[in-house]
Amino acid sequence: MVKRDKNLPLTETVYYILLALLQPAHGYIIMQKVEELSDGQVRMAAGTLYGAIENLLKLKFITPCQSDDSRRKVYVITEEGKRLLHLDYERMSHMIKVTEQNWE
């Protein structure tokens, strides 16, 4: 069996944050995008999002990027982040596929 990446599976919030950051965005935009992408299911509060961003920066899944806003930092997903996002997408696709096959 192939050993899978230790960062998998991603949590629901991390998955949505990475998905949101395929386009550069600052904190509050990420918050709104996550809520929109999840159909209102995932609402992140400020303190929780800030901690999540800090953690993703440490893992190098996202990186700060240039912005015109002097107060708000803007982030974007990295190649490593994209790779993990896609691995988790494949993991979930597989789950959906086998569930459909086995559901009577």
Binding site: H26, A45, A46, G47, T48, L49, Y50
Partner: protein
């Protein structure tokens, strides 16, 4: 009005601050004590985060995120640790945390801060001991704190008088030397208390 209080439990601290706001005392600042200003009684929600920042740019970014999501920063600074927020929008979130691990993680950061304090006092204590600024032998033998020549050979009333006369001075010497070990132990106790809160809050 200034008030001095010490909290390990952030939920209790938040509750107390909300009660003060209800009684018409608005939190204005927190350094070593809480500074309140008379205001109209209000049902504000005050929440506490615990974070230090490397740069002012990081701090400004952090405050902007909270402001954007309906929380006004009322007390705290770049390196103060505790950051106090007041709810300012009606349709915003009820808390600054939306999951249990991130809410609990505050205690982990507090615990680390106390641990750093405790550890940074140790070399200071050792160097003061090594340079004989602190005489550790007095911890084991408090008799050394008494400087009166021949005190311990005296007896009866004469001993008692000399002994009682010098005791306050001896205690002052002892206590000032005890400062570092006591602080180090205290900081370790806070470290453990915050760590216990962290574990309890994680579930």
């Amino acid at each position: 009005m200034n008030k001095f209080k010490f909290y390990i439990d952030l939920d209790k601290e938040e509750k107390w601050l909300n009660k003060m706001a209800k009684a018409g005392w608005e939190l204005k600042d927190k350094f070593c004590c809480y500074t309140f200003q008379k205001a109209a009684p209000s049902d504000t929600i005050i929440k506490i985060d615990y974070r230090n920042f490397k740069t002012s740019r990081d701090f400004v970014d952090y405050l902007a995120l909270f402001k954007d999501s309906g929380w006004e920063h009322i007390a705290g600074s770049k390196s103060s640790g505790a950051q106090y927020f007041k709810k300012i929008s009606n349709d915003g979130d009820e808390d600054i945390f939306s999951d249990i691990p991130s809410k609990a993680a505050r205690y982990r950061r507090i615990s680390n801060m106390w641990l750093t304090m405790a550890i940074s006092y140790i070399p200071l204590f050792i160097s003061l001991t090594a340079t004989k600024s602190i005489d550790t032998s007095t911890f084991l033998n408090p008799k050394l704190l008494y400087y009166t020549p021949g005190l311990w050979e005296k007896n009866g009333i004469s001993f008692l008088c000399s002994f009682l006369f010098e005791t306050p001075f001896a205690m002052m010497r002892g206590i000032s030397w005890l400062f570092f070990p006591v602080m180090i132990i205290l900081y370790f106790i806070f470290t453990i208390k915050a760590e216990i809160k962290y574990r309890k809050a994680s579930y």
